[in-house]
Symmetry: C2
Subunit: 179 residues, 2 copies
């Protein structure tokens, strides 16, 4: 499965956005997300609690901000393919029609997705094999990640989770069936 | 085009999440969003600035929290169709295969999307014609809205905006072309 690297996290300002990023990643089947920024044990704890209740395993790892660079460099040496989500990139609706995209979907273990924060170091655009945008408009990184994963991960909306304590029985009428 | 009603906004706690909801809605082609909660002129101003620079018109309207109810009731009388995004609803991957979904996509002006906040009044589940979930897992409302709109709005990722002052020329190499 793909790995996500989020560059930048400030405890106070970003806690809800980063938490939403992790929830999106987990819900759509990602199992590992690295955050380069301020260590936030409260966030880690809250995501772990979600996995405890709703199943699956989700590994949220904090590293120092400057670690983003050696992490990507190591990935490059290992031959991992790097997709950077940015409003300046090629529109997903174009990129997803390429043979490249079709091939990448078949090898998600070999793909890393980079999400910038407020300011993205210029080098990230160069390290990335592909810079991809979701609409080329000012956007939410949470919304962009959700749409990208939905297109990239096969059957992302139907991800199942092992050993859940809680589970919802979906219903058009809403909060009816709940165990 | 669909109208979005967000129930709940607290100035301090929710500013970034609500702002991301508005950015997602705008980027995917929505032109009207109503927020029932604390009036937030700073948020309104920042979204207006985005439209000023990047084009299109986006109408963000604040109403008092309790207004959510009369607004929905008026919509019901007018025959508008209401979709409530909630983790308890039917999975989008099932719902989107129904004739209903296909029909609704053809009449977006007649559709309203409700997004709950922290606590959703029980009545909302009943008012909704359809309660729809994006994965039935704890999720981000920003991510859920993004995926729903991407599936519901025809060519959402290719939305164009009138009279932009700024525009990106998409590029796989990233921040190269920019005018």
């Amino acid at each position: 499965m793909v790995t996500i690297l989020r560059i930048g996290h400030r405890y106070n300002r970003d806690k809800r956005i980063t938490s939403h990023l992790a929830l999106v990643a987990r819900a759509l089947g990602v199992r590992k997300m690295i955050i380069a920024g301020e260590k936030d044990l409260k966030l880690k704890d809250s995501i772990n609690k979600v996995s405890d209740s709703w199943g699956g395993g989700f590994n949220l790892e904090f590293v120092l901000y400057d670690e983003w660079k050696p992490i990507i460099e190591k990935w490059k040496i290992k031959g991992m393919k790097i997709i950077h989500l940015t409003m300046y990139g090629e529109n997903l609706s174009t990129f997803e029609k390429s043979d490249t995209f079709v091939e990448l979907r078949k090898q998600p273990n070999n793909v890393a997705i980079i999400l910038g924060g407020e300011k993205v170091p210029g080098k990230v655009f160069q390290y990335a094999n592909w810079n991809v945008s979701i609409t080329n408009q000012p956007h939410s990184e949470v919304g962009s990640l959700a749409i990208f994963l939905d297109h990239f991960i096969v059957n992302a909306l139907k991800t199942s989770f092992s050993n859940p304590k809680k589970q919802i029985i979906p219903s058009l009428e809403g909060k009816k069936n709940y165990r």
